[in-house]
Symmetry: C2
Subunit: 462 residues, 2 copies
């Protein structure tokens, strides 16, 4: 397609694309937007290297187009919501303005990064809601979807996880690391006690012992208690024990009472093994005395909804608004250059979001995007613009934002979203409306392309 635009002289036509999704994942009520920082970094450095060009030449791309690609740099402008923002279906979240060729060329990588990081940040946010103020650590890399694990660990931090065992991601993104020992450490010694003792001698600070290699209650915990006492004689404390199998509610209670009986009430209990927001909620409801949850596979693969259905659709080309029409009105896109605003009660609870044409100032009322006759008055509510310019002419206009900063932002913003929108079961739908002018524009273009299609075709083909 890029070559097609190039060869027909359309490459430099001005174009606008919107990124949005249609359905909240996990049956939930919101998405935490993420992936923006990785996208901006990638767009700043995007280029075609000589071996890329050689490969494309072998696929028979046109030589003039290949010369163009050799010099290609992304020079577009990007407006978007902030990383960490709670966002909702059908809202434009990112607007890309630039030439037709460059805005088209970045589609796949933009969708890949935003869809995946937003998905994982959302899953992490749900797990954080279930876990309250307990510590959460990402253990997922070994079962992540390939190199997707690199972005998953970062997105998990944005959504509310505290630390990761993924050292590469920690290195790349400046995340907090958290390690642990595996069964193989214990297996590599002739007995469990020697394995624990050696580990505690090497790492007397922050030592967490994995107690289920052989038998948790008759061997693992008693051996951990023995080592904790040895550490105390040296003026050190065992940080914790980890349970990685069996009935975690039962075992954590037994472990807690065995540790307490041994005078080790300061030793923490870490649990892991196929955890997600539902299991964590269930464990806490059963009164499991857990201090830290290690969350792996189900976090980094977004078990339950392994993809976010985000799309990237053209809304303007050659300075004219464009739509993708569908007989299903909910799938007809919103045309024109748009912005997103949030309405709230004096900066407190979020009440609704509005999608307006970029040129509009304020509106008194927003309308359901496709159900006729449903509208919401927004006059009198505080209005907050959610779009900020992030990139202009291919260059960032503000400094990179760290995952930790986005995590704090997400935590703060979620507080303004009512519990009805945050709950896991049948959450209340957050209101997203569009302005009357935008509705009118979509209606005009739908008439033009929809019902009218056949006659127009006949005319054109005639």
């Amino acid at each position: 397609m890029a070559q097609g635009y190039f060869l027909t002289g359309k490459a430099a036509s001005p174009a606008t694309f919107d990124y949005f999704f249609r359905e909240n994942p996990f049956g939930g009520g919101y998405v935490i937007f993420a992936g923006l920082e990785d996208l901006l970094s990638l767009l700043e450095s995007l280029e075609f290297r000589p071996d890329d060009i050689d490969y494309l030449r072998s696929l028979k791309f046109h030589k003039d187009f290949l010369s163009y690609l050799q010099r290609f740099r992304f020079r577009g402008t990007i407006h978007s919501v902030s990383e960490g923002e709670p966002v909702f279906p059908l809202e434009p979240l990112v607007r890309v303005d630039g030439t037709l060729l460059e805005t088209q060329l970045v589609e796949t990588v933009l969708l890949n990064l935003l869809n995946f990081e937003s998905l994982i940040a959302t899953k992490a946010s749900r797990i954080r809601l279930a876990a309250g103020d307990k510590r959460l650590v990402d253990f997922g890399l070994r079962r992540a979807q390939g190199l997707g694990g690199i972005h998953a660990s970062k997105a998990a931090i944005i959504g509310g996880v505290d630390a990761t065992s993924n050292v590469y991601s920690a290195f790349t993104y400046g995340l907090q690391t958290s390690g642990t020992l595996a069964h193989s450490w214990v297996q590599s010694f002739d007995d469990e006690l020697s394995a624990f003792r050696t580990f505690a001698e090497l790492f007397p600070d922050g030592c967490v012992l994995l107690v289920d290699t052989y038998n948790t209650l008759t061997s693992g915990i008693p051996n951990a208690i023995a080592v904790a006492r040895e550490l105390e004689k040296k003026g050190k404390r065992l940080l914790g024990i980890r349970l990685d199998s069996g009935d975690l509610a039962y075992l954590s209670k037994k472990a807690r009472s065995m540790l307490d009986d041994a005078g080790l009430s300061g030793v923490k209990i870490v649990v892991s093994n196929q955890l997600d927001e539902y299991l964590i909620r269930s464990l806490l409801q059963q009164g499991a005395p857990v201090d830290t949850f290690g969350v792996g596979t189900r976090l980094v693969t977004a078990e339950g909804s392994p993809s976010l259905d985000g799309v990237y659709k053209m809304s303007m080309c050659d300075d004219k608004p464009r739509i993708k029409f569908s007989d299903n009105i909910s799938k007809t896109t919103l045309p024109g250059s748009k912005k997103l605003v949030r309405y709230s009660m004096d900066g407190d609870e979020f009440r609704a979001d509005g999608v307006l044409l970029d040129a509009e100032r304020s509106v008194d009322e927003i309308h359901h995007p496709y159900l006729a006759g449903q509208s919401t008055r927004v006059s009198g509510l505080r209005e907050e613009p959610l779009f900020e310019k992030r990139m202009e002419d291919g260059k960032r206009v503000s400094a990179e934002r760290r995952a930790e900063t986005s995590a704090l932002y997400a935590r703060d913003r979620l507080r303004h979203l009512s519990p009805e929108h945050r709950r896991f079961e049948n959450p209340h739908t957050y209101k997203v409306g569009v302005s009357q002018k935008l509705l009118n524009l979509r209606e005009d273009l739908s008439r033009h392309h929809g019902a009218d299609g056949r006659s127009r075709r006949a005319r054109s083909a005639g």
Copy 2:
């Protein structure tokens, strides 16, 4: 842990780890093993660069350990089954022999690559079974789990997909590419017919037109027919049309009859939109005249089972067999250095696989790995060793195998697996047994570590 092994002088102890999984994904009856080639390439080039070392130094790793890592190269030996092999739960698929430190250090990356590529190759294989000899193209990158899409596209080819729209993977792995146009191409023109006509002029060979941007039946297909006729006047043929929304069974039938009525029976029909093995089977059962299926999200994210539960467990250390014990016998690992053999009827249908100690020659009977009293006679059956040496002292011992070669191998091998094991609903469990000697060894070690745990602890701690 690696630093722990290093500081306690255990780094160079000989150790053996096995890779295996416990449950077939998707409720299916088999897994297609993949990821080996990427793993071997990575292990050959694995090293710690100066900035990696600097980062680890900032995490307070010991300076002697960091000096060791600066010189680290993987020097282990790897035996495994072939990429593309149909394999089954509890079988050792890869055996890694080396020093304790190096075998431990590669755990996460090994699990990540083998789990993910095997998962996607398996999903692709199921989609191939549903699609019969129809053409299958991977369209998944935009909703893949981040950079996981790179490996997903390769694994999809191993499992039976014909081509990918992921040009980067195609470049990296020498895969067949297949492109298409998007709605935005059509939107960028003032009318659909001009968009189609221009695309066909630019790419008269292999042109597939997307017909659902506005209205499939009243605009898209009639316009495609008009362009097909224009191409015919130039001695060219329209390759196909693509349907990406709506009722694909209904629309593909309507499209076929409209094309046939226009004398265009050679124009192919491509369909896409949230396809998987079940939808493809349903479309074909309804007689949908589809020539090519574009399969995206549900393939590359392994919708239904987004992770394979593969693990990497120590089976030997310091020349002694080791187990991870569990009260649940099915979760107690198989100790010792092992190999995998396949029994079949004269090289025809696969009947059972046997896990034997490496030193064993042949056995007459194999036993269920954890259900007492269930055994299968294998004497008289053809016995085929499934393990081959792939790497010795950190170097490949055979040439890299292309994805296409593994795909042909997988296709051929699946023919020997009976339909009862391949079916989607309640597949018959393929027999995997272990030798009597291996059972005895596990039993000995279980007694040592299991029931006996408390008394041994008391003695050791005494």
